[in-house]
């Protein structure tokens, strides 16, 4: 499972504008809908449903919202950097500025978990996060996210 399998260059957002968690999820759903062709509303509701069980803000300014929908053919990722860090009800109560959205088809099973593991491991690296926070553009962000992989392999 590689990041490049999940994330296309057009799914990287360098300056997400959102005032709160809900808006951020709404914006992300919009981008996801464009890429996947699935109804924006349904994506948004799936994500909200997951957040209702507990936050996906995993700490250190990072959130990994995720969900499963039957409509998808494969897994999709959207990466966004938020201009103004926002309250994501994260476990460490730190505002979140790096968000990796992961959507999986229903029944993806182990692949869904492997993808989550990959993303989570990537963003657990504090050096990586600092680089992402300093990157200039969406292209730069994409290069960082994918390049790290070449080194790790």
């Amino acid at each position: 499972m590689e990041i490049s399998d999940l994330l296309k260059p057009e799914a990287v957002v360098a300056h997400l504008k959102a005032g709160n968690k809900k808006q951020a999820l709404q914006e992300l759903s919009k981008y996801a809908a464009e890429i996947t062709g699935v109804n924006e509303r349904r994506i948004f509701e799936t994500l909200l449903e997951r957040e209702r069980l507990g936050t996906t803000g995993v700490g250190n300014g990072i959130a990994i919202p995720h969900g499963k929908l039957p409509d998808f053919k494969r897994m999709y990722g959207v990466f966004a950097r938020v201009d103004k860090p926002l309250d994501f009800e994260a476990i460490d109560e730190q505002p979140v500025d790096l968000i990796f959205l992961l959507l999986a088809p229903e029944g993806a099973g182990a692949d869904h978990l492997k993808a989550l593991a990959r993303v989570s491991r990537l963003l657990r690296d504090p050096v990586m996060c600092e680089k992402l926070r300093g990157a200039e553009s969406a292209d730069g962000l994409y290069m960082l996210l994918v390049q790290n992989e070449a080194q790790a392999a």
Binding site: T56, D92, E93, Q94, G109, L113, A117
Partner: protein, 595 residues
């Protein structure tokens, strides 16, 4: 004159032995060898077959020294055990200490009577002698040996080892009596068994609890000069042990409970008591194991080495694991926890000491029991003692120590008893820095940062190297410790201690399972996370308690009023190393192809 010289000679010898024992600990820790084994071997070297050449065959004296030492060790074990850490461990521990001991004794007895071609009853006597997990060895490992286990496993094993001795002592004494007396009818025997066992437990329990209460109020009421408080406590320990035994109760149970009572009540001079007890426990360990080493005749052991070794192997690989599996399965322990619990079934001084009972009672081929017990203990200390830390970390159940343990500074606030002030150093690896929440009953007082004093609101989030001070009710303070304790798991890997994703306690397991394709038993599905923790931890869950959920683990993150408010989910796939499995896979395939 001669007897004075003899006495001085004995003193000199004893002191030299103890000194050598203490110094050998330096060598032992260097090679990771189990220290108790070293003491035992030193005793053997000093004995009749070793260079020391001391002839020592006094079973009665050994029995006395052994009782004394064990009483001190067990009391100390109780004293250091905070009742809060026993939550969720009482049921499993009692089941292991009673049914588990019986199963182990029975199985080993059958094996022994087969191996030595003994009548069943005499085989069972061997089983009874070696069936109990040794408290001295287990406590030593947990407190001094640097092995910290996850709370529930650790607490269960500790409590089991402290409470199973009465059952083993009793089984041994009973079998010896039956062997000696002309056997009466089976029903009579069973009645006596139940009667004696109940009596042992009840009297031991009563003496322990009331003795502990009396000791604590005595200690808090009378003012003694200087350093007499700890001495008083040691004297009381021995008094309670002897009293319970004289009343036909279990002395070991009594002192353990008395220690438990004292350790969990506000106590005057508790710091000096703990320090002195620590020293007394070390001395007891050294003296007891050395005397046991002295007592044995190693050349005679060789005759029994092979069959006794077989019994040891049987006990380690079948007798103990079967009992652990049967006793712990109903309490929802994972296979890893059960494997470790089987392996921590260390045999020690108690077994050797119990083996002296047949000798003292003059049962036929008494030396057989003694020598078999000795070999079993040697094998157990050698094999299990040496591999335990390794096994615990392989099974992901160890919390290796991270330097100094958490140091809490306490300040009595005169004029009231409801609150005290406690301060903690904050470290990068403290749970508080990694997402744990401070319970609402603890009031933040101030934070010391860069030598300045800040109010909690000025300080904001705690950082490493801060000192955080709280006002908290004294009886709950111990629960703050875990929030500030350095969690080695954080250091050992970069996995977040509380799992990747956090769920509210009100969420049902069905919802979690559906999201992550966890395979759960149907019976669990409708339970909430809060309910599951309540059920598995006897309504007393604590921050950091772990439970297995299919292919994931769930970890209590926020607990208040004994209810889990939120818990982290750690998916196995998220904690699995990134590259390793592939390599193993390749090797496996290569090996398979070669075959």
């Amino acid at each position: 004159m001669e007897s004075i010289e003899l006495a001085n000679g004995v003193l000199l010898l004893g002191a030299v032995l103890v000194l050598v024992g203490i110094l050998s600990s330096l060598v032992a820790t260097r090679f990771g060898a189990p220290l108790l084994l070293i003491f035992l071997i030193l005793g053997m070297l000093a004995g009749e077959d070793g260079p020391g050449g001391i002839k020592f065959n006094d079973y009665r004296l050994t029995y006395m020294i052994g009782s004394l030492a064990l009483a001190v060790i067990l009391f100390d074990g109780g004293l250091r055990t905070k009742i809060s850490t026993l939550r969720g461990a009482v049921g499993p521990a009692i089941s292991l200490a009673t049914v588990g001991v019986l199963i182990t004794a029975g199985l080993t007895g059958v094996a022994a009577s087969y191996i030595f071609d003994l009548p069943p009853l005499e085989g069972f006597l061997i089983g009874a002698v070696v069936c109990s997990t040794d408290a001295a060895a287990v406590f030593f490992l947990m407190h001094a040996g640097g092995l910290q286990l996850r709370r529930r496993v650790g607490a269960t094993l500790e409590m089991e080892s402290a409470t199973n001795d009465p059952v083993a002592v009793f089984l041994t004494v009973m079998v010896v009596q039956i062997i000696q007396a002309a056997p009466t009818s089976f029903v009579d025997q069973s009645l006596t068994i139940i009667e004696t066992l109940t009596l042992q437990t009840v009297i031991g329990g009563l003496v322990g609890i009331f003795g502990g209460l009396a000791a604590s109020s005595l200690l808090n009421r009378i003012t003694l000069p200087g350093g007499l408080h700890p001495v008083l406590i040691i004297a009381l320990t021995i008094l309670l042990y002897a009293l319970a035994t004289v009343l036909h109760g279990s002395g070991f149970l009594a002192v353990y409970l008395a220690g438990l009572v004292l350790g969990n009540r506000p106590l005057r001079a508790s710091a000096s008591i703990i320090t002195v007890n620590d020293a007394a426990t070390w001395l007891s360990q050294i003296v007891m194991f050395m005397v046991l080493g002295l007592l044995v005749t190693p050349s005679r052991l060789l005759d029994f080495a092979l069959p006794a070794g077989l019994i040891a192997v049987f006990l380690l690989l079948i007798g103990r694991p079967v009992a652990v599996w049967l006793c712990l399965s109903p309490f929802g322990f994972s296979w890893k926890e059960k494997t470790l619990a089987s392996w921590v079934g260390l045999r020690g001084a108690v077994s050797i000491f119990l083996a002296a009972i047949p000798t003292l009672s003059g049962v036929s081929h008494a030396e057989l029991y003694f020598d078999v017990a000795f070999v079993v203990v040697l094998v157990s200390l050698l094999v299990q003692g040496w591999t335990l830390t390794w096994a615990a970390s392989k099974l992901d159940l160890a919390l290796p120590r991270t330097g100094a343990p958490i140091h809490r500074s306490e300040l009595d606030l005169p004029g009231q008893l409801a609150l005290e002030m406690v301060g903690y150093p904050v470290r990068a690896e403290s749970a508080i820095v990694n997402g744990a929440a401070v319970p609402p009953w603890a009031r933040a007082a101030f934070v010391v940062r860069h030598q300045g004093i800040l109010t909690p609101s000025q300080a904001g989030r705690l950082q490493a190297n801060d000192y955080a001070y709280y006002l908290a009710p004294p009886d709950r303070v111990a629960r703050l410790d875990q929030i500030f304790a350095p969690h080695a798991e954080l250091l050992a890997s970069n996995e977040p201690f509380f799992g990747e994703f956090t769920f509210k306690g009100t969420v049902t397991l069905r919802e979690v399972a559906a999201f992550y394709d966890l395979n759960l038993e149907a019976g669990l599905m409708n339970r909430t996370i809060t309910d599951l923790f309540a059920a598995r931890f006897e309504n007393k869950p604590e921050v950091g308690d772990h439970l297995r959920l299919g292919s994931a683990e769930i970890i209590a993150r926020e607990v208040d009023d004994d209810r889990v408010l939120s818990a982290g989910l750690q998916l196995d796939v998220l904690s699995a190393p990134a590259v390793k499995p592939k390599r193993v896979g390749i090797w496996m395939r290569k090996i398979l192809r070669l075959n």
